[in-house]
């Protein structure tokens, strides 16, 4: 029988997609996903005063609206395996198995990108560091973040040092409610949030997110109505975070979904199995919508 590359490709694609569809998506609630097919994603933010007053009739330009932009450059990821035709002929499962392995590795790669981005937030330079009132040296999750407007000269924190608990989640919700943009306008966020925790806090996060009773006084809890999802990131450890579900400043630019490419090798002796994806993590120019707790 002739070596049938089309049949191998069909088997590989089915195994790849089947495996990918069953892989973990615990990272999903942590980020807002953009799928724009562009080498660099530009995310604008308006940090104007925001409130209505007397009509001024002043014209606006795109530069006024997107006052600052994060430019996130996408990153290509790929991996290649090779099987010889002899190996394919001798095994009923080699093609499916190698395709499943590639799907699992692609899924793990996406998870790894999100984990690296989220756990790095207390170390990531704030995009507006030293600009628009945000102090020098300020990180994306930090204390003492300046804002202007009515409260000009004062600061706010989106970085806590409290171990995960129901009261800690309530503290984060309170911060989101009161949070201001860099112009000092209160944004009233936190109606719907996503929790991001590590394995240490996974059980408790789901209990808090699902239980209609507060544990201390058995009073009704509003948290289940406000928690849209729980994201479990293995490398979070005892860190945890809250992100606003609608105004999440954390972004995954998933430019190209994971896919498998099957081609004959140049020497004609076998088949190349390549998995590719294009994705990167990014943040909006403003940290509004994030509360992070770095305990230790």
């Amino acid at each position: 029988m002739a070596n049938d590359i089309a049949k191998v490709a069909r088997t590989a694609e089915k195994a790849f997609v089947d495996t990918l569809s069953q892989s973990t998506d615990k990272w999903r609630p942590a980020v807002r996903v953009h799928t724009d097919d562009t080498p660099s994603l530009q995310l604008g933010a308006y940090v104007g005063t925001g409130l209505l007053g007397s009509a001024q009739g002043a014209g606006q330009t795109p530069a006024d609206i997107d006052t600052v932009q994060s430019v996130i450059t996408s990153s290509h990821k790929d991996k290649l395996y090779r099987l010889n035709w002899d190996e394919i002929a001798d095994s009923d499962s080699a093609v499916a198995n190698i395709s499943a392995i590639l799907a699992n590795e692609a899924s793990a790669t996406v998870q790894n990108i999100v984990e690296a981005g989220v756990t790095g937030l207390p170390s990531l330079d704030h995009p507006l560091q030293g600009d628009r009132g945000v102090g020098g040296g300020i990180k994306f999750a930090d204390t003492g973040i300046n804002y202007g407007g009515l409260g000009s000269g004062t600061t706010q924190d989106n970085l806590l040092a409290i171990g995960f608990s129901r009261a800690a989640v309530n503290a984060g919700l309170k911060i989101l409610r009161e949070y201001r943009n860099q112009a000092g306008v209160q944004l009233h966020m936190g109606d719907r949030v996503n929790l991001i925790v590590g394995p240490e806090n996974e059980e408790e996060a789901f209990a808090i997110a699902r239980s209609g009773m507060s544990s201390d006084q058995m009073q009704a809890s509003q948290i289940p109505q406000r928690v849209a999802g729980v994201s479990v990131l293995t490398s979070m450890g005892n860190d945890w975070a809250l992100v606003d579900d609608m105004a999440n400043p954390l972004v995954l630019h998933l430019r190209r979904l994971p896919r498998i490419v099957v081609t004959p090798t140049d020497d004609g002796l076998g088949v190349n199995f390549a998995a590719t994806l294009t994705a990167t993590f990014g943040v909006m120019p403003s940290e509004a919508g994030l509360v992070y707790s770095q305990v230790a």
């Binding site: 006024d64 932009q69 690296a116 240490e200 005892n238």
Partner: protein, 120 residues
């Protein structure tokens, strides 16, 4: 009666504090009341989160050089806190740079690259 005010005038001090409090939001949850934030970095364990969780956190804090603050001060938003501290200099010059180095390595390995474009 003299109307000359000095820097230590208690009325003036109170007035300045009151004005400052009006222009800011409520106190950040997790703040250790009476804490010396210039000298120390504080970590808070919520004992209502369960004994197992407290044990794990204590072990991690001890490992990083934190010591327990006793008697336990009050903490905004936490009914039953346990407070640990580490000298600010140790946190800022040893722990945080180590974490930042680790985080930067992870982000670099993951291909994370964020540029900022300011248009106005």
């Amino acid at each position: 009666m003299s109307t000359t005010k000095t820097k230590t005038d208690p009325v003036e001090t109170a007035r300045q504090r009151a004005l400052a409090s009006l222009s800011r939001q409520s106190v950040t949850p997790g703040k250790v009341l009476g804490g010396d934030y210039k000298q120390y970095r504080y970590a808070v364990i919520d004992l209502d989160a369960g004994a197992g969780k407290a044990t794990g956190l204590r072990a991690e804090l001890e490992l990083r050089g934190y010591t327990r603050v006793e008697p336990t001060p009050e903490v905004v938003g936490i009914n039953r806190p346990e407070v640990w501290s580490i000298p600010r200099a140790v946190f800022d010059e040893v722990l945080q740079p180590a974490r930042q180095s680790r985080d930067a390595d992870r982000m670099r390995a993951a291909g994370i690259n964020i540029l900022i474009r300011r248009t106005a």
